[in-house]
């Protein structure tokens, strides 16, 4: 038999007196508790911190937000002040003598110092250059980012307020109310948002108000759907049934059981709606139905930049890079957040070989 390989040597050295009955040591009837006492969000934060991309995104976003919202303090010029003699100056950064960043620009195959041509004093620097009206692009970029971010945050807020309450109410009520609310949602999402904005231009002037209203009309619909689906799922969970059996009202169940358990999904969805809103605003402004012209936003900057892209490419590159960085950071952060809040999705799937 092959069991000979199993360990069975007899340790004869053990003292005899140890071989006496001792009986069970009844510890705590049901034993000790395993694992930690971390709450859910502490746990999520621990996981989020391990995600390098997400941590990087948080840092980038913090810096961008701080810079954008302190624009009135740190912007070197008035973003709307025109100074035609200084038009189309490329970036000039003190201490850097790389072509393209020292005020020189290629014209007809040669690097030409635009600052010298425009008789700009030596101590005047436009870090991001100026546009066709001589407005400082750095200041415009700061103010523009601020507007884009504000619109994005409003969109997230709408998601969280209208979207969540709509979905929660619809699912908790169920029955006919739910059906009617769902049809309403389908009608709202059936109208293309671009058409909506154009229609709004009939009533409002182009600008913040019409963009925000257009978002308020239907941008929260995906959130409402997700919240409804999750709520319907949770409604069948035994702990919700237990709460009902204990006599808890539907409203209290929604607040104390459903909402905390879908908070992860909700937060993640709201984070993903931010880059969507930024892109929406940029797109509207770019095609000219968004922010009004003198006001800066990333969309209007891109619009101005693309016209002169062949000659003054920096006017397009700078807002484009800002847009990309913000979008990427929000997406990576939302991704990290999703993994942190819903670890099962990730850990269950993979096994190493």
């Amino acid at each position: 038999m092959n069991e000979r390989t199993l360990p069975c040597e007899r340790p004869d050295t053990l003292p005899d007196e140890l071989f006496r009955l001792r009986g069970a040591v009844p510890a705590d009837e049901v034993g000790a508790v395993r694992a930690s006492s971390f709450g859910f969000f502490q746990d999520a934060w621990r996981r989020l911190r391990r995600n390098k991309a997400a941590v990087g995104s948080i840092i980038v976003l913090t810096v961008v937000v701080i810079l954008a919202y302190s624009a009135p303090l740190i912007a070197p010029y008035n973003p709307n002040m025109q100074n035609v003699p200084y038009a189309n100056l490329p970036p000039r950064i003190p201490g850097i003598s790389v072509n393209g960043m020292n005020g020189k620009i290629p014209m007809r195959g040669q690097w030409v110092d635009r600052y010298a041509l425009a008789n700009v004093p030596d101590d005047v620097h436009y870090l991001f250059g100026t546009d066709e009206f001589g407005r400082d692009l750095l200041s415009r970029a700061l103010y523009g980012t601020r507007i884009s971010l504000t619109i994005a945050f409003i969109a997230a807020l709408l998601d969280l307020s209208i979207g969540v309450s709509f979905g929660l109410f619809s699912a908790m009520r169920g029955g006919a109310v739910d059906s009617i609310m769902q049809r309403l949602l389908e009608i709202l999402t059936g109208i293309p948002s671009l058409v909506l904005v154009v229609l709004m231009l009939l009533v409002f002037k182009p600008g913040m108000v019409s963009i925000v209203l257009a978002l308020a009309m239907s941008a929260w619909a995906p959130m409402a759907r997700i919240v409804r689906a999750q709520t319907l799922r949770l409604k069948r969970m035994e702990y919700v049934l237990a709460a009902r059996a204990l006599g808890m009202s539907r409203f209290r169940i929604a607040l104390s059981h459903v909402l905390p358990n879908i908070s992860g999904t909700v937060v993640v969805r709201a984070m993903f709606s931010i880059p969507y809103a930024i892109f929406f605003e940029t797109f509207l402004s770019f095609i000219g139905v968004g922010m009004r012209i003198p006001n800066a936003s990333i969309g209007t900057l891109l619009n101005g930049g693309y016209k002169v892209f062949r000659i003054y490419s920096y006017q397009m590159w700078i807002p484009a890079v800002i847009l990309c960085v913000i979008m990427l950071a929000f997406n990576l952060f939302a991704d990290g957040l999703r993994d942190a809040l819903d670890p099962k999705m990730k850990e269950q799937g993979d096994a190493h070989e």
Partner: protein, 300 residues
């Protein structure tokens, strides 16, 4: 004999009543449960036993028939006062120890849920004290009340679920497969706990399970369900040792015995419905024992 605490009379439940293809999950089930008794309900998954349990505690509506609790029709409890009183008197313990506790709540708040819903405590200290008492009565250390459910094992979670149901001081508890998801060695602990609590708190219980051997052990009487119908009712030992209905026989033959010598020779009895059976109803076959069959004693 006094009037039974719980009476089910030809209770039916249809799922999907709005669409045309309604599925009859429970079909004309009638039984009584007397004060202090444990009634076991067994059957395979999908036989309607869980649906029956949930109708009794008013988590699902009754399509037809009546459920009387303490003499009053449960469906007729519409005023808030009546409903809340019923919610305090009839409680339920669920099957899945993982799905039945809210993962975002601390044990203290889970157990105190019923106390909060009925505003049974005046102060925070009182609430804490009652929770501690409940935890102790189910064999858990009250120090654990600030922990979250995921820190507990399956058996411990099931204890928390029992504490939650008993905190409002019910007279009647539906135990919906409380042990099916647990390890065998833990099953015994939970069953013993339920038996102790029943004596201590003078509970009446409906114990639902798919394993007749465990049900027999906790119940005074057993009802066997098959495809939405009750096919046999009788005293626990009698049903276990001497089943009458062929479905019960088949169910018994499926229970694995820890006896390899017996198991090697064992033949399972598959159950086939008798097509020749006429109009079936519950009929008394022997004193105290009822089976679902037609006039001639054929089983349908």
């Amino acid at each position: 004999m006094t009037a039974p605490l719980l009476q089910l009379e030809r209770v039916c439940h249809d799922y999907d009543t709005e669409s045309r293809r309604a599925i009859r999950a429970v079909d004309g089930v009638s039984f009584d449960i007397h004060e202090g008794e444990t009634f076991g309900l067994v059957g395979e998954s999908g036989c309607g036993k869980t649906t029956t349990g949930r109708m009794i505690v008013k988590l699902l509506p009754v399509t037809s028939g009546t459920i009387r609790f303490d003499g009053r029709d449960v469906a007729g409890l519409t005023s808030r006062n009546d409903l809340m009183r019923f919610r305090r008197e009839a409680q339920i313990v669920f099957q899945d120890p993982y799905a039945s506790l809210d993962p975002r709540k601390k044990v203290r708040d889970i157990v105190a849920e019923g106390l909060d819903a009925h505003r049974l405590t005046a102060s925070r200290d009182e609430r804490e004290g009652l929770v501690a008492e409940q935890l102790r009565s189910v064999g858990l250390n009250p120090d654990f009340m600030t922990r979250y459910p995921h820190e507990f094992s399956g058996g411990q979670r099931q204890r928390i679920g029992i504490a939650r149901a008993l905190a409002v001081g019910p007279r009647f508890v539906v135990c919906d497969e409380p042990i099916s998801a647990l390890d065998v060695s833990i099953q015994a602990q939970i069953v013993n706990l339920l038996k102790d609590l029943q004596v201590e708190k003078r509970l009446t219980m409906l114990f639902i399970a798919h394993d007749l051997s465990m049900v027999r052990y906790v119940s005074d009487r057993i009802g066997v369900m098959y495809r939405g119908r009750l096919v046999e009712i009788g005293p626990a030992e009698a049903v276990y040792h001497d089943p009458i209905h062929p479905y019960t026989k088949s169910l018994l033959s499926a229970i694995p015995l820890p006896e390899p010598m017996v198991e090697r020779l064992r033949r399972r009895v598959p159950y086939r419905q008798d097509d020749g059976a006429g109009v079936c109803a519950m009929r008394q076959a022997r004193p105290g024992r009822f089976v679902y069959c037609d006039d001639a004693g054929r089983f349908g």
